[in-house]
Amino acid sequence: MTLALLAVGLSIIFGMLNVVNFAHGAFYMIGPYVAVLVAQATGNFWLGLLAGTVFTGLIGMAVEFFGVRPLYGKGEILPLLLTFGISMIFTESILAIFGPLGNVLKKPAIMSGTVDLGFILYPKYRLFLIFFTIALTFLLWLFITKTRLGLLIRAGTQDTTMARALGVRVKPLFTLVFGIGAGLAAIAGVMSAAIQGIEPYMGMKVLIPAFVVVTVGGLGSFRGAVIAALIIGEAKCLSILIWPPMSDVIMFVFMALVLLLKPEGLFKSR
């Protein structure tokens, strides 16, 4: 489920800004690091989550403002390379500050233990994760399709010149979108950190699965990203049951198949 959140963030940044964000993994990693610092200082998981998300969102905005903005209109490759360099800077900074060893983020006390679903005992936290992700995705979808701000963002994406001619200030909107995408990545990171712990390379590890998900789902497609994340997550889990070595490979096979049969991905954007 965290993969879905991550992919959605990546997907809106690509869909709206046409920027392939290689720094997404770095945002996914910075979020939990900040969250741990705050959570350990205050003893509150939720404050940590909030702080991590907001901080990462701001960093995302700064990256957009200083880095990506001068590169709009200069093709797709330069922003991609830029974010790649930025992800390198963030990963190395975290390594320099916190060292290569991992850390743990304690999940909130109410969330430990299991809950009886009738047919299976399921960890409370994971259940929470599922509902939280669904709710967040739904809210985001509402924001983009139903609110005025969402409308402006979509207008700015579809035809930047026209939107500006109509008096919309597009640039701050783009910065906002980038910030939201980064914030989503941070939430995904914090959420998974409570299960898997944190380490400097965690972002690098999820970045490629996230790309696969976004590509399979159709670049820039919101719905596609969510569905593809579920499919790929399932495929990965099921293949562990059948033949473990296959689990690393299955998603790439899946991606290759999808792109060969339907090069634009499962769902076309917009």
């Binding site: 392939v20 390379l81 390198m88 800077i89 790309f211 670049l219 690393d248 790439f252 792109l259 090069p263």
Partner: protein, 339 residues
């Protein structure tokens, strides 16, 4: 724009006669014979300038690797994020030939070349169904696929430990080349790298190279001119894969060891950085990038382990302020002085 120069230049170099048809047109800044000569001289002197020989060897091997990548990025306009796959496949194939099949150095080199070429044909055929960003993702995905296969198949590749192979001597028509000696090994590798460079220059200067450049400038227009752009892109991809495979094989010969990290996508990323740092519009741009990258690593890693931080910062600055790369600096200065 630069002046058009149709003269056929023939440069006499140590390796023999090197035809250099430099026709500078549009944004195609191909290399002048003097630059080639300068780089050749540096190549020959490098072991005496570098702090230790194997560093120089690494430099020339990665130069070849980066230049092969630049056939795609700089001269065809395709961004591949999985170029390490061919480097790694070449390295593995070469290593396996030497370790398991008792092949000689040359047959191992040939094996690395053939295997990476085959891989490039298959991967290129599949990936080139897509364009732009999807192409970058697809190449990345295939490279990861190969990495994980190699990682899991540890009985063949040694998995995480890598594959050790014996050092060899090369018996060439009665002339024994002792590859155990680092300096001899350097010049053997340099010789092959130079052959590859001459071939690459020749290919990029040919009419075929022009078609590649025109696809970079405007793919649609090129296809309207009657060129099958997909076939041309595939050939370019295969050439890039092939030379990367040679670089990988040379790396195996150099290290006498095949680390699985060769295949990891971070190597693909490194090669992208190197090419951008040096300048993707220039034939020797990636070479400059390589020397700089390896030099920075040696300089900084001595007192600060997170040397990649500086590489990242330099890279970001280059992308924002000087996307043409460091090789563009002389030209920029020249232009500024004229003004």
């Amino acid at each position: 724009m630069a002046s058009v120069n149709n003269k056929k230049n023939i440069t006499e170099t140590g390796g023999g006669i090197k035809p250099d048809l430099s026709t500078t047109s549009l944004r195609m800044r191909l290399v002048s014979p003097w630059t080639s000569l300068a780089f050749l001289t540096i190549g020959i002197m490098l072991p005496y300038m570098a702090p230790y020989t194997s560093l120089a060897t690494e430099c020339i091997i990665f130069s070849l690797f980066a230049v092969s990548f630049n056939i795609l990025l700089g001269f065809t306009g395709l961004l591949s994020f999985g170029h390490a796959a061919f480097f790694g496949i070449g390295a593995c194939a070469c290593g396996l030939t030497m370790a398991n099949l008792n092949g000689g150095v040359l047959s191992a080199l040939g094996m690395g070349l053939i295997c990476s070429l085959l891989a490039a044909i298959v991967i290129g055929f599949l990936c080139l169904k897509s364009h732009g960003i999807s192409f970058a993702f697809l190449t990345l995905a295939f490279a990861e696929l190969i990495y994980f296969i190699a990682y899991q198949w540890s009985s063949l590749t040694g998995g995480e430990d890598g594959l050790g192979i014996p050092r060899m001597t090369l018996d060439l028509f009665g002339m024994v080349i002792n590859l155990k000696n680092p300096l001899v090994r350097y010049y053997f590798i340099l010789f092959i790298v130079i052959i590859c460079f001459v071939l690459i220059i020749r290919i990029l200067n040919s009419p075929f190279g022009r078609v590649l450049a025109s696809m970079r400038e405007n793919e649609e227009r090129t296809s309207f001119l009657g060129f099958n752009t997909r076939t041309y892109k595939l050939i370019s991809f295969c050439l890039a894969g092939l030379f990367a495979g040679v670089a990988g094989s040379l790396y195996t010969i150099h290290l006498a060891f095949v680390p699985i990290e060769n295949l990891h996508w971070s190597v693909s990323g490194e090669i992208v950085i190197i090419t951008l740092l040096g300048g993707m519009g220039y034939l020797f741009g990636p070479v400059v990038g390589t020397v700089l990258f390896i030099g920075l690593r040696e300089l900084i890693s001595g007192f600060f382990t997170r040397w990649q931080l500086f590489v990242g910062i330099a890279f970001v600055l280059i992308v924002i302020f000087l996307p043409e790369g460091l090789s563009a600096i002389p030209e920029k200065i020249k232009r500024a002085l004229k003004r």
